[in-house]
């Protein structure tokens, strides 16, 4: 075989390989297509329409956005939503970290028990849990009756139909979203690193602080971002446990649509909320991969 022939043959092979790779990519896109069409038609398309609506009121306008910036009612709702989300995320981290840590340290059987107890509420209906918290927290609820029965209180405590009740129930719903990524990250921390820290003379607390905690930070970020973002968009829990007094942004959106048919205003509020969520995801994806946040990895 001459040099020229050999070159030709190599080119042919390359050609075939490239064509094969192209066809392969084509097949993959084809497999992706049905799912993509569903999401595109039901989510991406209407999002585009929302953008359009938010700038429209008998002509192009920034009026809806101006109102959000100036009307104190919107301002109140956004600050309330962020305050609740901060509190819920902080509490979830405070409660969730030790649980994930304990699941890691326990013998396999007990670790599985702990994880099952975390996962069980995760699979239970959000409505059922809101109902359960109403049973527990309302004025004639079990907690108030128990406290009164013990003679600890004369007046029932206002635990439900306010911000407190909303936060208690929201943390309950979002806690598994904190524990699971934390546990997944902790599991990957090599045990010898912790042992090495100990053998170098660190006290357990010191080793935890200097070695374990920093290594668990990806899990902390994933859990924190996930819980915060989910909380920003919460609807059912504040609606049922807030007693109409805890107007989170989601509820402003739905009231604008349901009560006032104000699609322009609803769209603008929805897009501001979506922008907050998107920015947070973007900021977090600079630190860790998006898939990690969503539990894909």
């Amino acid at each position: 075989m001459s040099v020229a022939q050999a070159t030709l043959a190599r080119d042919d092979v390359m050609d075939i390989a490239i064509r094969h790779a192209r066809r392969e990519q084509g097949t993959m896109l084809l497999l992706l297509a049905p799912a993509l069409v569903v999401v595109a038609v039901l989510l991406v398309l209407p999002l585009g329409w929302l953008v359009w609506q938010s700038f429209w009121n008998d002509g192009l306008t920034l009026e809806h956005y101006r109102r959000i910036a100036t009307d104190p009612a919107y301002w109140t709702s956004f600050t309330l939503t962020f305050r609740i989300s901060f509190l819920v995320t902080g509490l979830a981290l405070l409660l969730g970290y030790p649980v994930a840590y304990a699941a890691l340290k326990l013998p396999p059987f007990w670790a599985n028990v702990v994880l099952a107890l975390v996962v069980l509420p995760f699979w239970t209906s959000v409505l059922v849990r809101a109902y359960a918290w109403l049973i527990l927290l309302q004025r004639t609820g079990l907690i108030n009756e128990a406290l009164a029965g013990l003679g600890l209180i004369d007046q029932p405590l206002e635990l439900a139909y306010n911000e407190l009740g909303t936060i208690i129930a929201t943390v309950h719903i979002l806690l598994p979203f904190m524990v699971l990524p934390l546990y997944a990250t902790m599991q990957k921390i090599p045990g010898d690193l912790v042992q090495a820290g100990a053998s170098l003379g660190g006290t357990p607390l010191h080793v935890f602080w200097r070695v374990f905690l920093p290594l668990s930070m990806p899990g902390v970020i994933a859990g924190t971002v996930l819980v915060f973002i989910l909380c920003l968009g919460f609807y059912i829990t504040p609606e049922l446990l807030g007693g109409g007094r805890v107007l989170m942004v989601s509820m402003i959106v739905s009231r604008n649509v349901e009560l006032y048919a104000e699609w322009g205003a609803a769209s603008a509020v929805a897009l501001v909320l979506l922008a907050c969520v998107g920015l947070l995801f973007f900021a977090a994806s600079r630190l860790i991969s998006l898939e990690r946040i969503l539990g894909a990895r």
């Binding site: 392969e24 990519q25 993959m28 896109l29 497999l31 992706l32 049905p34 799912a35 993509l36 569903v38 999401v39 039901l42 989510l43 991406v44 398309l45 209407p46 999002l47 329409w49 929302l50 409660l95 969730g96 649980v99 840590y101 304990a102 702990v114 069980l120 699979w123 239970t124 209906s125 409505l127 059922v128 849990r129 109902y131 359960a132 109403l134 049973i135 527990l136 609820g141 079990l142 309950h172 806690l175 357990p204 973002i229 609807y235 059912i236 609606e239 989601s250 509820m251 959106v253 739905s254 609803a266 929805a270 909320l273 979506l274 969520v277 995801f281 998006l290 969503l294 894909a296 990895r297």
Partner: protein, 261 residues
């Protein structure tokens, strides 16, 4: 294990957190067997009247039927769509597919109320409002990310060269996937299907906007009932739903253990 004061504090704290997680979903069960019109604990007398109220109410039964049918259909549709998408994401090297993956995960990231008004907008123009097909389609969209994530996790633990071997021995892509890959990632696919089922069963907000007339879901009825008054019938329904989720966690666990063996 060495028992020290810090570790005792840790276990105590963890125990309390676990109680906080579990007690609320367990407390509903005894309440559902109470004879009382108003909720009190422990119940003054036991009865199954709230279960009877549920099972003999035509409205509740219709809603339960709608919810179950929609959830089953959603799982049947979302699982193959999500599995195909996860397979493509896993085997693709192109940047295009990477960015499309983010679109597929969007239903999980966009606040549900925004999804709800978006779906409402599409349905109002296509005649899908207040239909079962509309409910199924919306729930398929919402559950796709969960199926994709579950199946992707399975594929990452699977050695793709096995499928290549099958193909080099003359099987086509579909057959080699069915015969070689699928049996080994079965647990993840089952988990994905269960996720789709439970997502559809639990979905409330989108149903609030798009279901109506003859086809209302159980959760939509529950939500409106809860907004008005705390009806003990809800305790019976809640207990049944909780029992269903216990069963699903067991199923998911069992399918995982089978695949380990």
């Amino acid at each position: 294990m060495r028992v020290s004061i810090p570790s005792l504090l840790l276990w105590g704290f963890v125990g309390l957190v676990l109680l906080y997680l579990i007690v609320p979903i367990l407390i509903v069960m005894p309440m559902s067997f109470s004879d009382a019109r108003f909720l009190s604990f422990p119940p003054p007398a036991w009865s199954t009247r709230w279960y009877e109220a549920f099972f003999t109410s035509r409205n509740w039964m219709a809603a339960a039927q709608t919810s179950l049918l929609v959830a089953v259909l959603t799982a049947l549709i979302a699982t193959p769509l999500g599995t195909a998408a996860a397979y493509a994401i896993h085997n693709s090297t192109s940047r295009l597919v990477r960015s499309l993956q983010i679109v597929l995960l969007m239903p999980m990231m966009v606040p549900i109320i925004i999804v709800a008004i978006g779906v409402f907008f599409v349905y109002a123009r296509t005649g899908l409002l207040a239909t079962r097909a509309g409910l199924v389609l919306a729930d398929v969209m919402l559950s796709l990310p969960y199926v994709i994530i579950a199946v992707l996790a399975g594929l990452r633990g699977f050695d793709m060269t096995q499928e290549m071997v099958a193909r080099s021995l003359g099987m086509n892509r579909l057959r080699s996937f069915m015969a070689v890959t699928l049996p080994q990632i079965k647990a993840s696919v089952v988990t994905g299907a269960l996720f789709a089922f439970i997502t559809a069963l639990d979905e409330t907000i989108v149903a609030l906007f798009i279901s109506g007339g003859r086809y209302q879901t159980l959760t939509k009825r529950m939500f409106t009932a809860l907004r008005d008054e705390i009806d003990p019938t809800i305790a019976a329904i809640s207990s049944l739903l909780t029992a269903a989720s216990f069963l699903i966690v067991l199923l998911a666990g069992a399918s995982r253990r089978n695949s380990d063996a």
